[in-house]
């Protein structure tokens, strides 16, 4: 953050928006102009060298791109949109950022304050609409409110449990004059972003840990948000506790770490799911017991005591009763806990997970990675791509079968390497999010896995990739089906494929139309060469892989079942 200017300067509200963003250290934003935000775009025009604006093709894409940027950098993603349809187009992205705790600030234009409530042209009550899906939102009707509101917006978006903030600025506030000074916000009396860690809670938790024979840690995105990866490793290595990761917690510890026992949830790994009902202690770290993780809560962790460590008091006891809650930032609480717990050896217990891994490997993974049939499988594509990038790329996904498979078979060395829509499961998230991720981490390769269904939900962002020259690598998994829904139809609706088959356009032609080199692979023998071509390409690239049409993602915990009922086939 830059030093706040002490001498007031006269300027317009629009200029104050730009100055405030610069004061917050913003150098990149995503947006789409229109009538009610034109004064702000005009102010942007003169500072484009300092504040780069990426013109997207749809406002939903602007928010997903900002999310991708935020997820890989930990910084706040920023969007700029117009009123009415521009603002309502952001709602899906905002809801996605809300449920996945992603810091995003959306600035929308609004009609003049004298017209508010009158059904004026392109007026919508975007503050009302986004109220349930924002961490905070606010309508600015006077120019002099702008610096303060933006300072609050950034403080709220990034502090504590992060989330999206929407600021709606009326046109007269954009035009109005103010004396500009900038003061960052550092506290708000009605907001406790981070409850201080209570030593008594640490004491209670450490007792349970020291007594446990079969403890299991559940690593959520909270670890990444807190930047507590190192603290996590120190805790795990001292206690020798096996750790499973949630979808968004993935990459908090390296995939090949001795204590990593894989993934939690409906399509996670065999071991961490069935062992949930065998373990005697669960240590939940910055995760929220989503129903995709717990399955039937009545038959979840039936023998275990629960330690729940989280920054958000509203998560404690929300889904699963915590025997020992530990509130606070994991960056503070984990070292305190590590200091209190005994050094331990759980190698026998860890071996039980390895045994599960062998079962999963024998019965499932082998046939996924080395299929006997000629049709290509998603898993083998994912693994080859991961290896081609030395298991060190950023993986972005869309939503569906390919998402679960990419998550299962991609490997990670570094933190903040997964960008996916977890809580909302938003198809169309992937392509724009990959743009934001690449612009956030230009030095790292960004691989997007996307299905033929979800690709077409935000396919217009290929235009953004073309215009802004964003070198993302798109791996299009084409099965001519809305695969995940088809899988459920096959398993639970007796193969009644209602509206899940897709007749697709020629994606190769489409990519070329956008100036993006593309290749299509239909046979296994051509896969490696094509991947090599993608890896060696400088700019964006579309690798389309025609995979088996009716493949299924396993393991699977059927809806309504217990985690222990996970099916391998």
């Amino acid at each position: 953050m830059k030093e706040s200017k002490k001498q007031p300067v006269m300027m317009t509200g629009s200029q104050a928006v730009m100055e405030s963003l610069l004061n917050e250290g913003v150098d990149l934003m995503f947006g789409y102009p229109g009538g009610a935000i034109m004064p702000v775009y005009d102010a942007l025009y003169s500072i484009q060298d300092k504040l780069h604006h990426v013109l997207v093709r749809h406002e939903q894409g602007a928010v997903h791109a900002a999310q991708g940027y935020a997820r890989v950098t930990g910084k706040v993603g920023v969007c700029l949109v117009t009123s009415g349809p521009g603002a309502t187009n952001t709602v899906t992205g905002i809801a996605d950022a809300d449920i996945d705790s992603t810091p995003v600030v959306v600035i929308s234009g609004q009609v003049g304050s004298s017209l508010l409530g009158s059904d004026a042209f392109q007026e919508t009550d975007i503050v009302g609409i986004t109220q349930p899906v924002t961490k905070w939102n606010y309508q600015i009707t006077r120019a002099e409110e702008i610096p303060r509101a933006i300072a609050r917006a950034f403080y709220i978006a990034k502090s504590g449990r992060p989330g999206p903030v929407l600021l709606d600025i009326t046109k007269d506030a954009q035009f109005g004059m103010l004396e500009y000074t900038y003061e960052p916000v550092t506290s708000i009396r009605s907001y406790t972003p981070c409850p201080p860690v209570e030593p008594a809670q640490i004491e209670e938790a450490s007792k349970l840990i020291n007594l446990a024979k079969k403890p299991m840690a559940l690593v959520g995105q909270g670890v990444l948000i807190a930047g507590a990866e190192k603290e996590l490793l120190e805790f795990l290595e001292k206690t020798d506790i096996p750790a499973a990761q949630t979808l968004l917690g993935q990459s908090a510890l390296p995939s090949d770490h001795r204590l990593s026992i894989g993934r939690l949830g409906m399509h996670g790994n065999y071991g961490p799911n069935i062992k949930t009902n065998d373990c005697d202690l669960i240590i939940a770290l910055g995760m929220r017991f989503d129903d995709r993780v717990t399955a039937d809560t009545k038959n979840y962790a039936i023998k275990a005591k629960i330690i729940h460590m989280d920054i958000d008091p509203a998560e404690i006891n929300k889904i699963i009763h915590a025997d020992a809650p530990v509130l606070g930032n994991l960056k503070d609480s984990l070292p305190m806990l590590t200091a209190r717990v005994n050094k331990n050896d759980h190698s026998e217990w860890l071996e039980e997970f390895r045994a599960c891994d062998r079962i999963e490997n024998e019965r499932l993974i082998k046939r996924e990675l080395f299929p006997e049939k000629p049709e290509l499988k998603v898993a083998e594509v994912v693994r080859r791509v991961s290896e081609a990038y030395n298991d060190d790329a950023i993986m972005v996904t869309d939503v569906g079968q390919h998402q679960m498979t990419a998550w299962r078979y991609f490997r990670f060395k570094r933190s903040r390497s997964v960008v996916t829509s977890g809580g909302l499961g938003t198809m169309g998230f992937g392509l724009p999010a990959s743009i934001g991720a690449k612009l956030g981490k230009p030095d790292r390769p960004v691989c997007l896995f996307v299905g033929d269904g979800g690709f077409q939900m935000t396919i217009q962002e290929l235009g953004t990739i073309n215009q802004s020259k964003v070198p993302v690598k798109i791996i299009l998994i084409n099965n001519n089906f809305l695969g995940m829904v088809r899988q459920w139809q096959e398993l639970f609706f007796d193969y009644r494929y209602a509206s899940t088959e897709l007749i697709n356009p020629d994606f190769q032609t489409i990519a070329r139309g956008y100036n993006i080199p593309a290749i299509k692979v239909t046979e296994r023998k051509n896969l490696d060469k094509a991947i090599e071509k993608m890896v060696n390409s400088e700019g964006p690239f579309l690798l389309e892989v025609a995979v088996e049409k009716e493949g299924n993602v396993f393991p699977m915990v059927p809806a309504g079942a217990s985690v222990a009922d996970i099916r391998l086939e």
Binding site: Q131, I188, R189, S190, P313, K318
Partner: protein, 183 residues
């Protein structure tokens, strides 16, 4: 789990949209609000809302934490009915003429600890404070004499704790050098 009446008191900034934020916590979970009052609290600049719902202890605690997530909410506390002292107020309008046909209405007013608030040639307004059951009972008794309007307020409540817990919250902020002013 059996449901009983709980009173949630919420202290918030007096901002546009705050009611919407609070109410949506209930709407999302499909919980009906039995009554709601909102006005400035004893602490200058801080607003107080009192909401009554049928629920259970676990659920109201979850609700209170969800409400506190709202940036402009300082604190939310939940109480079962024996943890608070509370009142509601009811107003009844009866034709004045009915009052003069025997002294039944006057007797009722006295027996129920109500009072006559205003009397004109046309109508008389009776006021009673009490719990809902009590104000309802008086209504049932008055109604045969022709109540033309009847209205009941939401709840005002004071908890039985030694001190208002919000004061400690604010003191704690001050102790930790944090902002205690409205921003």
């Amino acid at each position: 789990m059996i449901k009983q009446e709980f009173t949630i008191t919420i202290f918030s900034e007096n901002r546009i949209g705050i009611l919407n934020q609070i109410v949506s916590v209930f709407t999302r979970r499909h919980i009906n609000i039995e009554s709601l009052t909102s006005s400035e609290s004893a602490i200058e600049g801080i607003h107080k809302l009192t909401i009554v719902v049928f629920s259970n202890r676990e659920e109201v605690e979850i609700l209170a934490r969800q409400i506190e997530k709202s940036i402009d909410v300082l604190k939310a506390y939940s109480f079962s009915h024996d943890e608070i002292v509370y009142q509601e107020i009811a107003l009844y309008k009866v034709p004045t003429a009915k009052l003069f046909k025997g002294n039944e209405i006057e007797k009722l007013v006295r027996r129920y600890g109500a009072r006559i608030l205003e009397m004109t040639a046309d109508y008389t307004i009776i006021e009673k404070t009490g719990h809902k059951g009590e104000t309802q009972e008086l209504f049932d008794k008055l109604d045969p004499y022709g109540v033309t309007q009847f209205t009941r307020s939401g709840r005002v409540a004071i908890n039985k704790m030694k001190k208002e817990p919000l004061i400690d919250y604010l003191k704690n902020l001050a102790k930790n050098g944090l902002n205690t002013n409205i921003q």
